[in-house]
């Protein structure tokens, strides 16, 4: 057989002919993409489960203005998520979660800028925007902590509900929410809220940790030495994904 040894670079590469990375995507980046595809299905399953459950409950049928909480029908989201820190008792539907969403999306923008600076191997700019992204992530998590705390704590008046306790139906005023009972609606409402936003929050949290790790590696000049800022790009993909998932979670829980 002829010797196969040849000089590289003599010909135009053919992307699907083997011997080359198609579309110039490194294996690490491909792996991140495939991980994200699979994670998409994790979240899809949860959101589909949410939808399945939600529509097995009757919806509230009266006028929106007359809405009161009850565990007999699914609540109207804007009636539930209407609080903002320091503005106790003011009815501001979906304002706070809107701010949270904006912060997270803004952190995606700073991430784009960091990645772009990485392409130019501009270390100082990468550092700057990574820091903004990390800050955005922490702020989002902080907001979510407040949102959870408020959800758990509940309103001043609570809701009078008939629930099953120790095997008997009892009538009782419920304040706030836990995993078995909540003042806003059926148990599943809070269960899904806690689980899905919690699962997403865990993703955000691990994203922030990854970002910090990569920030340090940028700051210590590792990627300059390596000659490539691809790692920034990879965590960037993850970060955008987490954002995108939030958009869906937001739509499902707060808008629909």
């Amino acid at each position: 057989m002829a010797s196969n040894v040849t000089t590289p670079g003599a010909v135009e590469p053919k992307f699907w002919m083997g011997g080359i990375e198609p579309m110039k995507a490194s294996y690490g980046k491909l792996m991140m993409w495939f991980f994200l595809i699979s994670d998409t299905f994790t979240f899809s399953a949860l959101l589909v489960a949410y939808g399945y459950q939600r529509f097995s409950f009757p919806a509230y049928s009266g006028e929106v203005a007359d809405f009161v909480n009850s565990n007999l029908y699914w609540p109207i989201p804007e009636k539930v998520y209407a609080a903002v820190p320091f503005l106790h008792g003011v009815y501001l539907p979906l304002v706070f979660v809107g701010i949270m969403t904006f912060i997270l999306i803004a952190s995606s923008v700073t991430m784009v800028l960091a990645v772009e600076a990485g392409h130019r191997k501009d270390r100082a700019t990468v550092e700057k925007y990574m820091l903004w992204t990390i800050l955005g992530g922490f702020t989002f998590l902080g907001c979510q902590a407040w949102e959870w705390a408020h959800f758990i704590h509940g309103t001043d008046n609570g809701t009078l509900m008939t629930i099953m306790e120790n095997g008997k139906m009892v009538e009782k005023t419920i304040f706030g929410a836990n995993l078995t009972v909540n003042e806003y609606g059926p148990a599943a409402f809070a269960d899904f809220f806690f689980f899905i936003t919690g699962f997403h929050g865990t993703h955000v949290f691990s994203g922030v940790i990854l970002n910090i790790l990569i920030f340090f590696r940028v700051a210590t000049g590792l990627y300059d030495k390596r000659g490539s800022y691809e790692m920034v790009e990879k965590v960037g993909l993850y970060w955008h994904f987490v954002d995108l998932v939030w958009v869906f979670v937001f739509t499902f829980f707060y808008l629909v």
Partner: protein, 627 residues
């Protein structure tokens, strides 16, 4: 000039690599190895151990079903408290055995053991890569599987027994510790183990896909990939998409079990007392589970089908019939696999209209499945068949796949399924089409690639004996089982002695059990042959089956990095067997058309012009160094 320089520098690399080898200690080389071949063998050995455990369990419950009056005291040393003083198997433990058997065989043997072994072993070798894209992740994948195995194995020894709600772990049975002894700690460990198992599958799958896309050697375009690789690739994609859904459903179940949520629970009374859970839906779990569960059955089967394509073409000395149709049918099966899950739920009170939609989609699967069946048979047609053990098992797989698939079409009719659901008819269906067929795929793969794995040959006579006994045994078990199912025997029942209608079938049940024990014993031939040949088998030649794929161009004992010197380039598909005019009855993939002028077809002569181009396609890291 440059060519010579290149060759020299590669030689140097290969040498410096040798040194590197010596410095690897035992732990790096055999335990925490990142070499895909070692990891493949780890998967294989672990899978074999699991298979022995899983099949032994089935023998125990088959004895219970076939000979309900027998005295099982002799099992006391192994099963201890689960055998009563009068020699009876504990009914709760019977359910645990069935559950563990299903879980072990489906996930640990036929998913991890089968695609873990052969995807790992064959992907780099057949596409011409030095190793997997990430050796480290590959190693992690095995060790997560190992951890899952330890936890699952540990659960068998619990005082309350392992999980017992069936391998499909439907809530509320699995969600309420009060529901069954096995639903306590046993189920907790089951869920933990499966969570780690899913992580392992994802790590492995992401690696397989990436490797196939990025690390093919030059010339190995997608339409020259052996069908094995196509099968592994599609399997990995199926796993990538379906296992996360199982993960989600398992996480929700864990919440219901430990944190008082009501995802799957509603209106349940225990000893007359109502539980607080309202509003959950156990049917939701079934939807989520079967969205994994149905693709999972193809995750189990597709690698076997891929192996069969390769082994049948090689040993029929004929090109595979319908190469592209084979790929298309696998893609079709994979796509359909995601939209038929509700055929497992026809009798859950589903809207009959929805049922007929799922029935329609389900029956469409018969089309690509039939394409595969016909292509195998046409490949065999008038071939110069060499009956190696691998070949026998591959032909056996085709037979089992066809006979099991036929009963699938019966079950796929939602009206017929009302009678047949949850009977032994279903059990017979899926054991033929999934269990036995995939196990045959596993055997075919082991017999065929053993020489490449261990540098030695297995004993062919023992292999043939193993095949015939298994083949006969398996049909003796499962053909009668269809009748038992049609007669109305429900699955997962401890015994059938107290119903009138079952009396007439006791002898048939006994026959099945005896056949099962017979098939079980036949496997010891394999075990002996396998372990004996690792150490004492005949030394293997380089290409014992005169096969075309790249793995046979590596040295007999493949080292780290697979090829000494450069990775060969690929110029043709892998099925040039018995080509008219050729000197030999096979032309390996790395032989350029310019060297086979006597057998080239007109359009292949045109491809000679592209050879230079292919050879220059060395843009991967793995071509710059010998590692």
């Amino acid at each position: 000039m440059s060519a010579i320089v290149g060759a020299e520098s590669i030689h140097e690399h290969a040498e410096s690599h040798e040194h590197h080898h010596v410095s690897q200690n035992f732990w790096q080389k055999y335990i925490f190895s990142e070499d895909h071949k070692v990891i493949a063998k780890q998967y294989l050995i672990t899978g074999i151990i699991w298979a022995v455990i899983g099949i032994s369990m089935s023998v125990i419950f088959r004895i219970q079903l076939g000979m309900p009056d027998s005295n099982l005291s002799w099992l006391k040393p192994v099963l201890g408290q689960w055998i009563s003083d009068s020699g009876k198997l504990d009914p709760n433990f019977y359910l645990a055995l069935v559950t563990m058997h299903g879980t072990i065989m489906v996930f640990f043997v036929l998913t991890a053991g089968l695609s873990g072994t052969f995807s790992n072993f064959l992907i780099p070798l057949q596409i011409g890569a030095r190793d997997m894209a990430s050796g480290f992740m590959n190693m992690l994948s095995y060790w997560f599987f190992f951890l899952a195995s330890i936890i699952m194995f540990g659960s068998i020894f619990l005082q309350t027994g392992p999980a017992a709600g069936g391998w499909v772990i439907y809530p509320p049975l699995s969600a309420l510790p009060e529901a069954h002894p096995g639903s306590g700690m046993g189920m907790t460990l089951w869920l933990t183990s499966m969570a780690f198992f899913i992580v392992s599958q994802l790590l492995g799958g992401i690696n397989y896909i990436t490797t196939v896309i990025n690390l093919r050697t030059r010339g190995m375009s997608f339409d020259r990939l052996p069908l094995t690789i196509w099968a592994f690739l599609i399997t990995a994609v199926l796993g990538l998409i379906s296992f996360p859904v199982l993960l989600s459903s398992v996480l929700l179940l864990i919440m219901d079990r430990h944190f008082g949520t009501s995802f799957y629970l509603s209106d349940i009374y225990i000893n007359g007392e109502a539980l607080p859970n309202v509003g959950g839906s156990p049917i939701l779990f079934q939807h989520l589970f079967w969205f994994l569960g149905h693709p999972e059955v193809y995750i189990v089967l597709l690698p076997g089908l891929g192996i069969t394509s390769e082994v049948i073409a090689t040993n029929a000395r004929k090109p595979i019939f319908g190469y592209r149709a084979m790929i298309a049918s696998m893609l079709g099966i994979a796509f359909l696999a995601f939209i038929v899950w509700a055929h497992h739920m026809f009798v859950t009170g589903m809207n009959p209209f929805l049922g007929s939609v799922f029935m329609f989609l389900t029956l469409i699967i018969a089309v690509p499945s039939a394409v595969k069946g016909f292509n195998y048979i046409t490949t065999l047609w008038r071939g110069n068949i060499v009956f190696t053990p691998g070949m026998l098992f591959s032909i056996g797989l085709v037979s089992l796949f066809v006979s099991g698939g036929l009963t699938g079409i019966i079950l796929g009719n939602s009206a017929l399924d009302i009678q047949l659901h949850d009977t032994y008819f279903v059990v017979a269906h899926f054991h033929l089409v999934m269990g036995a067929a995939s196990a045959f795929g596993l055997f075919a793969g082991v017999y065929h690639w053993f020489p490449k794995m261990f540098g030695r040959m297995m004993n062919p006579t023992l292999g043939q004996l193993h095949f015939w006994l298994s083949f006969i045994g398996i049909y003796m078990v499962f053909i009668p089982m269809h009748y038992v199912g049609i007669a109305g025997f429900p699955r997962r029942y401890y015994q059938f002695t107290s119903y009138d209608f079952t009396h007439k079938f006791m002898d048939m049940n006994m026959f099945i059990s005896i056949a099962a024990i017979f098939s079980f014993l036949a496997q010891f031939i394999f075990l002996w042959n396998f372990f004996y040949s690792i150490f004492k088998g005949k030394k293997a030649p380089k290409n014992p089956w005169r096969s075309n794929t790249l793995e046979w161009t590596t040295p007999v004992n493949v080292g780290h990095g697979n090829w000494e010197g450069e990775i060969p380039a690929v110029y043709r598909w892998s099925y040039d067997y018995s080509k008219p005019g050729a000197k030999e009855d096979f032309i390996p993939q790395n032989v350029p058309y310019s060297q086979t002028l006597e057998s080239n077809l007109p359009h292949e002569n045109e491809l000679i012009a592209t050879e230079k181009e292919i050879e220059a396609q060395n843009f991967n890291d793995q071509f710059k160094t010998a590692h």
